[in-house]
Symmetry: C2
Subunit: 206 residues, 2 copies
Amino acid sequence: MSKKEKVDPRVVRTKRMLTDALIALIEEQGFEKVTVQAITKKAMLNRATFYLHFTDKYDLLEQSTDDMIVELKEAMKTSFIASKGTYAAETPNESFIQLFTQIGAYDYIYRVLLSESTMPHFRDKLTTVLSEFIADGMTVMQPDDNLLTIPREMAIRFYASAFLGVIIWWLKNDCPYTAKYMAAQLMKVTIQGPYKQIVIEQKPSL
Amino acid sequence: MSKKEKVDPRVVRTKRMLTDALIALIEEQGFEKVTVQAITKKAMLNRATFYLHFTDKYDLLEQSTDDMIVELKEAMKTSFIASKGTYAAETPNESFIQLFTQIGAYDYIYRVLLSESTMPHFRDKLTTVLSEFIADGMTVMQPDDNLLTIPREMAIRFYASAFLGVIIWWLKNDCPYTAKYMAAQLMKVTIQGPYKQIVIEQKPSL
DNA sequence: TGCTTTATCAACAATCCGTTGATAATCTGA
DNA sequence: TCAGATTATCAACGGATTGTTGATAAAGCA
């Protein structure tokens, strides 16, 4: 965050207006139908000004959203505190709460960017953030691969996708639950599985 | 499947060539950069012929992929056989195996359509198929909402997204495991959770 | 065979793109 | 404050793609 370059306030203003216009237009007509002309018209800027800062609408989208991704990663950087075997769903992990808090704070933008199924790369980037988060959590809670039910890499992918799916569901439903509640729910189902009565068939040989 | 209309073989041939051209071009340059001109050129057809059958490239994509979705749903329609509480991961549910078998049979196309992050709606449709599948499975295994760890709707979304994520992971890695193995892994982690040693903290009051 | 449907072809106006060069406005730093 | 640098504006361009048209050729059907 914040390199030492002095930034011209005109640049900040212009980028900001273009970003806002883009988000608004994505919501109106979907990302693919958005044109550079429409963006600059809504932002009340000249089209040439757009090309002074971005190569195309994809570039604008990427620059606009990367800041959010960085901010999200930063917010989730609180260290994992695992209580050796027991995990109280009532006090979910702080990073977990931060995940939903952060997204909830920008829910308007996240909703647009994640509901839009044709959104390039944003979903992928968020999946990466979640994968790293889950990989860390799994390392803390279970470093031993032999005690995992499925290959670690597969499990990471499994839960990263699951989390993202629930996040999108949460956003599409206008965030009906608090960040803390969502974090608690996800922790519960992740650790305990979907059913309260769990039948484990463990091979006696292994 | 198969309405009673007689189909002109020219139409079948034309649509087939356009579909093949589209898939090839998506792989080459991504869906967004594909133009109708390029499609018809690769298919060696006149551009006007394209508009005789489809309104635009999105329409072509939808018509092309809907058949696959229907076929997938059909293949997964085998009834659930739950053995009341115990689930042997070695013999996973038949629908589950069919899911991976079907996708594996068209892996080339699924890989292109799911790896491409800007693919309109295909991911959503597959998520819907998976959600229905999971909803059915959950109803069989646990009809009682009170015995679920989290709200049913949330759980469905959770596991549908998780499955899709693992499927995409599987495809991106060139299907390194068999359909049956994948089905078994997903059943295991879904029912048991990620860790073999599971600590359940159940409120004594509830 | 004759009729219908489909495919081809060239051409069209319209839109958007990315860039250019000249000019005006704004900001920075000494 | 003011001069130089940066940024924004404007009009205009060639090029690409789009969606449509009307006329013609080819292929399928019964």
